[in-house]
Subunit: 347 residues, 4 copies
């Protein structure tokens, strides 16, 4: 069985394990206040061209999202997100559990746009009964989205402008940030994100680390006392060094970006092969997640040898599924999948 169902099924890039072994008995203070974390912070600030950024490390994406939002929002405020957003659908109501509504807007290919945010806020703030509704105070987007699509600079700049117009924070979930930035045609990079967002995180878990997300906070209001919330929400790892160490390895010598490009290239290869077979896609994804629409019979033929995640039924005989590549996917694995798909589809 070769697994393509997600991008977090292996361990970590070998360099990370080597560093763990090499430094195992180093004694450091805890909670991310050690020199290893400090080095990672400096590295991230440099890569983001954001010398004033606050950088804090968390263990996972759900935790990163609800911690940042809980710290950012007052009790009557909510966050705008696509109806397909991870926080809206796949975090068991973690944001609501901290007391805040996720205000879900309709999406196109997993994305929301500045016009929607602007229109929603105009409606809210000009309504005489606005005190009876949750006040929008943040916009959440993912780069790449749940459907593998990416926001480009123009779209993010427009969202920034809408946020500025209505006093909202712009927060970018970067669980797959590397894969997003490595996508064909994506013009977003870390310094741009650091200029356009109030906070974003650089995903580690799906991008070559054992676990870990690096939250980059640009807005001073969000920096303030953030570590209290980090502790309260369970995100302050006792051996914080483990997080600093992983980001030090990933972000040294371009490794993070190299691994991202690797995964996206393999995904593009898979996409081209499927297109050559006449397969259509739910959405035109330029990143490491591909959503082909396949005959159920073909999927049946694959299921003993390859795993995928089921997305949705399209009609009586077809389903959309997701194949993910990752930093750990090999060309041989993709070739095997392509060969199997060719066999299954030509039957």
């Amino acid at each position: 069985m070769i697994r393509f169902n997600c991008d977090y099924q292996e361990g970590a890039h070998p360099r990370i394990l080597e560093a763990l072994v090499r430094t195992n008995l180093d004694q450091t203070c805890g909670y991310g206040e050690d020199e290893v974390c400090e080095e990672a912070r400096s590295r991230i600030r440099a890569l983001c061209a954001a010398p004033e950024a606050d950088v804090q490390f968390l263990v996972g994406g759900t935790q990163a999202n609800f911690t940042l939002l809980a710290a950012a929002l007052r009790c009557y405020q909510g966050v705008i997100a696509a109806e397909t957003a991870h926080i809206a659908v796949h975090e068991t109501g973690a944001v609501e559990a901290t007391g805040h509504k996720v205000i879900a807007l309709p999406q196109v290919d997993g994305k929301i746009c500045a016009e929607q945010v602007d229109a929603f806020c105009r409606l809210h703030f000009t309504d005489g009964a606005h005190e009876h509704m949750v006040m929008p105070k943040a916009v959440y987007v993912s780069e790449a989205t749940e459907l593998g699509t990416v926001y480009n600079r123009e779209e993010l700049r427009a969202l920034r402008a809408a946020c500025d117009a209505w006093g909202l924070y712009l927060y970018v979930d970067g669980a797959r940030l590397g894969y997003g930035m490595a996508s064909e045609g994506c013009d977003v990079n870390l310094p741009f994100l650091a200029q356009v967002a109030d906070a974003f995180y650089i995903g580690g878990t799906k991008q070559g680390a054992l676990f870990g997300e690096a939250m980059v906070i640009l807005n001073d209001e969000l920096k303030r006392d953030f570590r209290y919330t980090l502790k309260q929400k369970g995100g302050m790892l006792a051996k914080g060094r483990l997080l600093g160490l992983q980001f030090n390895e990933l972000l040294r010598d371009d490794l993070y970006f190299e691994l991202s490009r690797h995964a996206v290239e393999l995904a593009m290869e898979l996409r081209r092969a499927l297109q050559a077979l006449g397969v259509s896609f739910l959405v035109d994804s330029p990143s490491n997640q591909q959503f082909p629409i396949l005959p159920d019979a073909a999927l049946k033929a694959l299921e003993n040898d390859f795993s995928y995640s089921y997305q949705q039924r399209m009609d009586d005989a077809h389903s959309c599924v997701r194949f993910c590549t990752s930093w750990a996917t090999t060309r041989e694995q993709v070739d095997a999948l392509i060969a199997a798909l060719q066999g299954a589809l030509r039957k």
Copy 2:
């Protein structure tokens, strides 16, 4: 200025004020444990043919909703409601502020149906990743709805069956319960509600009381320790007697139902007059809220003499607005409105 913008702009039915004056210096214990509240409880149990029901009094509708739901739900559970439901839109995220997601389903004329609930739950509970999503545990409907429409017995029985199939509570917001039950063609009454719902409340604020809602709890699981939550959420009125007294007056001698019929009759009169003028409606409401679509010019002509609430823009020259009648509305007020509308529309 005659106000039709809502159904809570006057005080209370005179009988209530008389009772307040008459009993003003009676000394009772607090917090709804007095004999006046006990009498109201007995009265409500009898009217509901539900001798085992727990009855607790709250001050307002938002409070009633979030208190009942907070008591009913565990931290990972949410409540299904129409996307137009009061809890989804007009309570400033009160339910989310207690930690629970409002799972908004598409509505037709302000209503959701059993098939939707069933389909949503099937999708949830058969999804391998269901632990990553909020578990549905309750269904919220209003009688009448935000759009004035009403659920009939068949619809509520079907919702009950869907709730039973998936282990959900059925909760009915009765802010306008009298007006709903007095609607033409509505076959729902209190004993039926007491059979079909796990909990519902009999609205007082909009139905002739100064304030107050009577929560009727049928399901033993929801009865248990409810008064702890009532106190915690601010709903346990120190002088609880005031709530018991009001429901005693309203529910004696059919007054509640008489006042409800009065308001609905006046609303129907308004509707017929508008229909005669060729006006169309956003929704075919049989209860005390009417949603005509009117030329902006006609609305402009009314605005110095009559208040209404603005619902939504329909096109460049037309808007949908809401006119409410209530227990306090007089035939003279409605006649004046009709005359003014006739004048404005015939221009």
Copy 3:
């Protein structure tokens, strides 16, 4: 049975009922935005000599407390209070239910002092691990306290200074504010409170109203968007006019203060009579709550004719109980109680 167990067992001062009856069919807009509430706001600002104060009306004290604190605190902040404070003991964890710890400090006669606050904050903010502890951000005191004692100007000024030193809000629960201010030796008045506190409320429920508390917000940070939280927490009464009306009556012609003095005078009479009988007290209370320590036999002798609230056991044969007077207590009732106590104690 004459009730002395609490100060909220009757209805309201007759002037309030008269005003309710007189204005019953007046139509006003809802939610406290009507002209009656505006008049009450102006009246309160004038009495407080605080023309910039925001005034919002709530239904009850528990609601007032958790609503103000939820609006004031960020998710990692808590409120300092005496271990006997109402929010610490008698609100079913309402503040915690909004996510905030009540940091309980030891009390003397129901009070905490500036030195305690200062010492606690010093310990917190100088601790290297302060991020692992709830950040203190507000101080809660009651005037009068749960034990009937009162803070004087000097004590409140010192608390203010401690709050300023550490960036805390000072919030005063005024459920019995009139009784506190009418106490012998109490030099606090409304203008002083408006200068020293960030927010406080003028209690109505226990002071002559049917229900209602007037929150006076002095600090601009706390004013901002307060009504969103008010709505979310269930405190925005639909017929807000009812609250404005009651405070208009109470605060006109010195009525509030007159009623307060009346209750305190009767309490002092009771105290002197008990002292003359050689009774000692749990605490030396100058306000409307008295806490005598009585032989159980004497209490037994009273119990068919008088109610009191049980405070605590002192020894095998003695208990401390609470007698409350209120605006509604009559001299005859107090005389009857004194006579009964004389009889019971002389046996």
Copy 4:
């Protein structure tokens, strides 16, 4: 600098790193549903002689505590704990942030006893106003406590009986469970804990793992739907395998217990050496945390070479500090500390 300030400053036991390296590219499904976690679950069930136990893995102790308690408690319920308990003091109000009060009881040597729990509950449930107070529903204890002391079987059985009498859950925080069970005179083992507690966790972070805590849930009520809460609170690690793997290594061949005994032996050595020097202790701790009271001058003399954590000031010239040993502490490190202390104290 040799660090004795805490027991989580190194990485992990080498066997864990070896297993990580060996299995790094194994593909498993996520979220703890993989076969590695299943193996760890079986192992833990066997060691606990609890074949029906549910075992779930979390990343850290604060997370483990608030996740279990949030899952266990209804909105009006709280948890009883020592005033020095980790959840009461050092988790930034994480439990309160989920809406639940930590009911702090006075402690002796970091412990609470059955009599206290019983007395508190009796007072609560027999109070006529109990609905105005948080309902106690769980008791939290740590094994070992924050002060290094341990509960023995008799004490835990008595707590169990008190919990049974009042319908409370008994929850044991086992962040240092191995060190506690390895303490001299401690007769508690895993099967006993599995009989006496409703839930407890086996600490990994401080006991030889990189990170991770294994929650063992015995009570069926707490098992139900626990993984929803686990996900919502951020505790469901994407690469759950990492947690299973670590517990498989630790709990194989007695390693966990061996490492625990090692740390406790070194702590006892330190204790004996200090006793021989005439040093007294804040508390008589039989486990890996020692709390000697030392002259400030001696501490000053140590500070360049050894780290400790500061506990509290005892008098003008003496402080109590904490020295921790751990699985990673070497005899040489302890000998060096002893030698330095001998030098510093004999000056």
